[in-house]
Amino acid sequence: MGTLSEEILSRKVGRQVRAGEIVIVPVDYVLAHDQTAPLAIESFRKIGRPLFDPNRTVIVFDHIIPAATVQAATLQKMIREWVREQGITNFLQEGICHQVMVERGFVTPGAVIVGADSHTCTYGALGAFGTGMGSTDIAVALATGKTWLRVPETIRFEVKGELGHHVYAKDLALAMVGTIGVDGATYMAVEYGGPAVRRMSISERMTLANMAVEMGGKTGLVEPDDTVDEYLRGRARDPYERITPRDPVYSRVVEIDASSIEPMVAVPPDPEHLAPAAEMRKVKIDQVFIGTCTNGRLDDIEIAARILKGRKIHPSTRMVVTPASTRVALEAMARGYIQTLIEAGAVVTNTGCGPCIGRHQGVLAAGERAITTQNRNFPGRMGDPTAEIYLASPATAAASAITGYITDPRSLD
């Protein structure tokens, strides 16, 4: 009996658990990346126990890859040595950790996965309880195979109707943050349901679940269905059962009519301040970025390529495209999207987090403005703290690249 998170955690703990209880739960996989692994390794060494399972530890290099500074290179060298020393079998350098975890079949319905990255909540797109933690929590999981959790209450978004032309999962995700605010789901799980969500692809569901943490959420879950089974066929690393809510009691149910949503942008300084893209035409854009764990997948790149096909980006702007993984990049190349984007004037980088985190590949100067498909627009995230970051869908970002100002993609039809 319970919400999706109560059901998953009950299964793991071996008894019925309820929201509000604190439980110690065995984990299926533990993730860290180049930015958070160094502190996790330090804490792991302090604990002084052996690694719980080298086959269930996943280390991904994605944040500053290839290394952009001597400092980053030095930390990465240390992580590589630790990975070898521990016999860790899953050391991946082929894209953003969350994309790779899903593509490589680590994420299955009912799994509990902890990651030293706040966007670990993305795995709920496949019905897994993924949650982000800090490095020391991750060290505890590495040393014990367990973590402690407060079983969360749940906010359910029930999405009816259909998204309109050039309105995407990202616009819906932003609308959700705008509705309940950046702390509207703090300490809680978010569940996404209703006909509009059931029709969504895995990639679109990942866009929604990814932004659960932008509302303070512990995880963001979609009930697994045939779409998930189909995606996992031949891909899942572990057997799984579909776990679904049973007589759930939600703290709050928020109904959204998808057909009422327009192309949106989140305005600085955080993702809860929204405006329709159509009303933001006065905002000139210096840099457009398409990529990240939110919107760097094949469908996102396809949307951008379709809009930019045969067009050029505006001479006063620049555009960076970072495919979320090597698989995404190769498929986008095979389909001609990368060629289209380069011909339009975009810089296409290697896979990884790209400029989302302000380390490399498109850092912003004082006073510059970017429109980006990422999930966060906090001051200083992409470079100078006075730079302004606007969040949007790949379509709105691509349309803005053509005009040089924030543009509703429907206006270019």
Partner: protein
Amino acid sequence: MSRVWKVGDNVSTDEIIPGRYNVTTDRQQLAKAAFIEYRPDYAENVRPGDVIVAGKNFGMGSSREHAPIAIQASGAKAVIARSFARIFFRNAINIGLPILVCDELHGAVEDGDEIDVDLATGQITLADGRTFQVEPLPEFVLEIVRAGGIIPFVQSGRF
């Protein structure tokens, strides 16, 4: 007495320590970057025992543990907020940075005020004598705090 560094609502981990300063695990280097852009006067002027008094949802965003470490290494004694973002809350407890939840304090103090914060009793006393009581933490979390953080807690055999 502790000097108050007052900050607003929704202070993100990017504002506590921007991502590009996280390419080290050296505590003193992280301390120098604490609030480097959000409160550029902080790192140079913070004194041991000072406290950060924040509004709602302090520490939202990234899971970077560099954020509470930077605050702890800067010498601050505690963060007192109306509420905390989840991952920051866990990270602070895990590393032994005292975090206190008090809804009324933020509206009652100004930046630079001197206040008395008794971590043992959870009582905060202002210069004018007004007192505030912080909200108690869940028992399990208190056990981690009493153990001195999650590492000694785990070493004590609780996991």
